[in-house]
């Protein structure tokens, strides 16, 4: 078996839960390489100790197939710091780092929280709109 699919059961704000899960999967040789709205896809490889970081880019559109210039710049900064983008789906970005003790992507919690708040507002706005439908 070289492929594995998983349904994403994590809440969007359970960042540490997702990261821990991905790190555990990598240590068993399963590496995330694709995220869709329905499943996460992994491929098999040599088990490795990797650090994962989930980072949201709230300004990304769910309807654009390509990331914006701003999002690409964000990803380039991360790559420069050793965080390689392994999978993304619109606003959700998953980075992996092979270094033993990498500098986290977010060194000021405030901005990470602001990004999640922005995301939550968009999410709940959509839910409320759906509830208002007759």
């Amino acid at each position: 078996m070289k492929n594995r699919y998983e349904i994403d059961f994590y809440s969007f704000y359970d960042i540490s839960g997702m990261q821990e899960h991905l790190e555990k999967m990598a240590s068993k040789g399963w590496f995330l390489d694709k995220i869709t709205y329905y499943y996460w896809h992994y491929h098999k490889g040599e088990p490795k100790q990797l650090h994962y970081s989930i980072s949201y880019y709230a300004k990304a559109s769910n309807f654009e197939s390509e990331p914006s210039d701003g999002q690409l710049t964000f990803q380039e900064y991360c790559e420069y710091a050793g965080w390689k983008l392994v999978a993304y789906n619109a606003k959700l970005q998953v980075f992996a780092n092979e270094n033993g003790n990498p500098t986290p992507i977010h060194t000021e919690l405030k901005y990470e929280i602001e990004e999640i708040k922005r995301l939550a507002k968009q999410f709940f706005f959509l839910i409320y709109m759906l509830l208002l439908l007759p």
């Binding site: 380039e76 900064y77 990470e112 990004e115």
Partner: protein, 104 residues
């Protein structure tokens, strides 16, 4: 309005602004902060991205050139003032420490 959220600079904000005395691009800032502080302060790539965006919106830095997506920035008068204000705040903090522990 935008300035009010920078009334106190965090350590990361302070060092990003400080490193922009001379023009540099985002990636250079990460290295500069780390070198200047001998690794004591590390600015995360995501945090740096957010800070540059907000400093730009508050006119504390300005863009000097753009080669593709590689953009360079430099501090503005407003950004320099914010650094001076933060210095003053830190000096007062040290003076207060001395008042309490050194009786000065």
């Amino acid at each position: 309005m935008a300035r009010s959220k920078f009334s106190t600079l965090t350590e990361q904000m302070y060092y990003v602004l400080l490193c922009l005395k001379d023009e540099c691009c985002g990636m250079e800032i990460m290295d500069k902060v780390s070198t200047l502080t001998s690794g004591r302060v590390q600015v995360g790539s995501g945090t740096l991205y957010n800070l540059l965006e907000q400093f730009l919106a508050s006119n504390m830095i300005k863009e000097t050139k753009a080669e593709g997506r590689r953009r360079s920035y430099v501090i503005t008068e407003d950004g320099y003032e914010a650094l001076l204000k933060e210095n003053e705040r830190l000096m007062l903090q040290i003076q207060d420490f001395n008042k309490i522990f050194k009786g000065k």
